[in-house]
């Protein structure tokens, strides 16, 4: 989008003003994530740059808050809980979501719009409402304050992402491939695992990553239905920020930013791979 040669002075001004504005928005988007990284190495329990930090004095930086994080039994326990809940709910979401997406992509399915509406409703309903409802219902079933309750809740919140990504992948799916496999003597199961699965796998995995991220980041429902024993990392952060925000939070935040970079790269890689496989050239 270079400036056209016929541009007048006013247009030139707008062109640069526009670019500067966009640059500022990008700074606004990314700087909060970058600023916490150096702050998490602060030797002092402050949230601002000390003079020593600005002078790049090595003594002003330390791994103190990271030591506190890795040495804390509470935080380590929280990591373990988050891991258990996230992995279980992601696997469940991937299985249930993929099956449903396969059904939804068939033209014979009746009431498709209504079913889709129900399946993605956890995405539309505000979390605080889901949390309150789940608190009432799961308590009456006796599964609040348990791993099972939290896993089921996070699965419900994560499946819409799998349904949407896999349905999108299937929208470009050529069913002749399955017919070809069948005509060559493959059983439906064999054709499913050898033909369908490899083609939709990228969609399943990126949907799964969304579900994973939902569970890892989810705090509202967790506050309401998890007990002290199931305390997850977001719950621990929530408690930490509410009580007295210490730079340990920033150390955790930095680690989480690293994790999101990792997840983002994986999802982007999968998206491009899927486009290549399905013959959609990036444009």
């Amino acid at each position: 989008m270079a400036l056209p040669s016929y541009a007048g002075p006013l247009e030139t001004f707008w062109y640069y003003a526009f670019r500067i504005f966009c640059g500022m928005v990008f700074v606004f988007l990314i700087s909060p994530l970058l600023i916490i990284i150096p702050l998490s190495f602060n030797v002092e329990p402050y949230f601002s740059f000390t003079e020593g930090m600005l002078a790049f004095d090595p003594d002003a930086y330390s791994l103190r808050w990271y030591q506190e994080f890795f040495g804390s039994e509470r935080w380590m326990n929280a990591i373990q809980n988050t891991f258990i809940v996230a992995v279980c709910s992601t696997i469940l979401s991937m299985i249930l979501g993929t099956l449903a997406a396969l059904g939804l992509s068939r033209s014979e399915l009746p009431f498709k719009g209504m079913i889709m509406g129900f399946l993605i409703s956890p995405m539309i309903v505000p979390l605080i409402i889901s949390a309150a409802g789940m608190f009432f219902f799961y308590s009456s079933l006796g599964i609040s304050q348990s791993y099972l309750g939290l896993i089921l809740a996070h699965t419900a919140l994560g499946t819409p992402f799998v349904v949407i990504t896999v349905t999108a992948t299937l929208s470009g799916f050529d069913y002749n491939l399955v017919r070809a496999a069948a005509s060559l003597g493959a059983t439906p199961t064999y054709a499913f695992f050898k033909v369908t699965v490899p083609l939709i796998l990228t969609g399943v995995i990126s949907g799964g990553l969304f579900a994973l991220m939902t569970s890892v980041d989810e705090v509202v429902v967790a506050i309401f239905i998890a007990g002290a024993e199931q305390r997850t990392v977001p719950m621990q952060m929530w408690a930490g920020i509410r009580e007295q925000i210490s730079p340990t939070i920033l150390a955790v935040a930095t680690l989480l930013v690293c994790m999101s970079i990792l997840l983002l790269s994986t999802v982007e890689y999968l998206r491009r791979r899927s486009e290549t496989i399905r013959g959609i050239t990036p444009h």
Partner: protein
């Protein structure tokens, strides 16, 4: 599977036609069942783990068991009493009350009924629990003794409230959620101005969500336009700056804004260093509405940019060039040609951001202070602190109705294609 033979002319006999149609129907039905079987596990799962909880909440918002369950004799006795009669209930009602109070005190259940009645009329709790402590020592006849213990029992309005709330279902939580009250005579009227809380809170939630949506649109539209018009390789790189915040934990972003905006935080330090703000007069940008708006605008901005970008990607750049070549100024070309085509992206992004914003709870709770709280925080407060679950449920239903109403309106306006895609 079909035993029909086709005659030389290719004509089917009527019987053959019938059996062929039946076979086709059977095959179609089988396919339909197979598709339904694939969807069924998730549908059942969502029904149980998600839809039932929401239904439970709906039920909770009208459920009213406390009085009838924990004061059964009084409830039964009051059924025969005419609340409009301007006469106190008879002795048998007072006797029933004494029995209920005594049982309730022993089983520690009278407090629940007392709390429930207190939502409707203050001092009902102390009236019930105070009398319950003395009820065991009373001998019949009770009526005068009870009025002597607490003259509240001689107040006909208290009896009217008990009778009204002894019904198993109530709308009183909704009445409270709309800042109204039921007078003892059964009229529903608005609370005095200074006691109104929820409507104001709901209104604030809506207008702050509108403000946040507008801000994300103002910031997001130019950026999406830039991303959509840049060459793919550069756009993909810049896209990382949008996607990274999108993938980063909400709590991380909220805590980094706390670090940035607080009194001793980075932004105030910079402003002081530049001499724009004096050291003892630092800006309070957090723990108020400003903090909520800034933080939520940052958190929700990617949700505006992504749908806008995906729509703008489909607008051919040649249209703008054509408009220019026909003599349009850049502004006319933009407003007449580009903007109308980007409307689907604007509406998708705006509705997504608005729906997400209106239900927010975590960020306002952490950075909102007094003035930046949302209706979601009120629901959480009644769930966790005041334990008025009925009111929390009613507020939840009001919020849910608002969200579904907006979503429904949006999908009605935009027709069938209403799926909010992630990309």
């Amino acid at each position: 599977m079909m035993a029909t033979t086709v005659e030389a002319e290719g004509q089917l006999t009527p019987e053959e036609q019938k059996s062929l149609t039946a076979d086709m129907h059977r095959s179609l039905r089988r396919k339909k069942i197979r598709a339904m079987l694939l969807v069924a596990p998730l549908l059942i799962f969502i029904m149980v783990t998600f839809v039932s909880p929401i239904a439970t909440m709906l039920f909770r918002s009208v459920d009213n068991p406390q009085v009838s369950e924990y004061m059964p004799n009084t409830t039964a006795a009051l059924a025969h009493w005419d609340a409009d009669s301007n006469e106190l209930p008879g002795e048998e009602t007072y006797a029933a009350l004494v029995e209920d109070l005594e049982v309730g005190r022993k089983n520690h259940t009278i407090g629940k009924a007392a709390t429930r009645l207190n939502y409707e009329k203050s001092q009902m709790r102390s009236l019930l629990t105070g009398t319950a402590r003395k009820a065991g020592r009373l001998k019949p006849p009770y009526k005068e003794q009870l009025i002597k213990i607490n003259d509240g029992w001689g107040d006909i309005d208290n009896w009217r409230v008990i009778k009204r709330e002894s019904k198993p279902y109530t709308l009183s939580y909704y009445i409270a959620a709309f800042d109204m009250e039921t007078t003892p005579t059964g009229e529903i009227k608005m609370l005095p101005e200074q006691q109104r809380v929820y409507l104001q809170m709901l209104w604030r939630t809506v207008w702050m969500s509108v403000l946040i949506t507008t801000l994300t649109l103002i910031l997001g539209y130019p950026v999406s336009y830039l991303l959509a018009s840049l060459p793919m390789s550069i756009a993909n790189t810049l896209m990382i700056l949008v996607l990274l915040p999108f993938w980063t934990s909400l709590l991380v972003r909220t805590s980094s804004w706390i670090a940035l905006l607080q009194g001793q935080g980075v932004i105030n330090d910079i402003l002081v260093w530049f001499g724009l703000v004096s050291d003892d007069n630092r800006l309070s940008m957090i723990y108020n509405a400003t903090g909520t708006v800034i933080t939520m605008t940052h958190i929700l901005l990617p949700f505006m940019i992504l749908p806008l970008y995906s729509v703008m990607k489909t607008i051919p750049p040649s249209y703008m060039r054509a408009a220019r070549s026909l003599g349009a100024t850049p502004f006319t070309a933009f407003f007449k040609v580009y903007l109308p085509q980007s409307v689907p992206g604007i509406s998708a992004g705006a509705i997504l951001v608005f729906i997400l914003a209106i239900g927010y709870y975590i960020t306002p709770a952490l950075v909102g202070g007094q003035t930046g709280q949302f209706i979601g925080n009120m629901i959480a407060y009644h769930m966790q602190s005041s334990l008025n679950w009925g009111l929390a449920a009613a507020l939840g239903v009001v919020l849910l109705a608002l969200v579904l109403g907006i979503y429904g309106l949006y999908s009605r306006l935009l027709g069938g294609n209403n799926q909010m895609s992630l990309r």
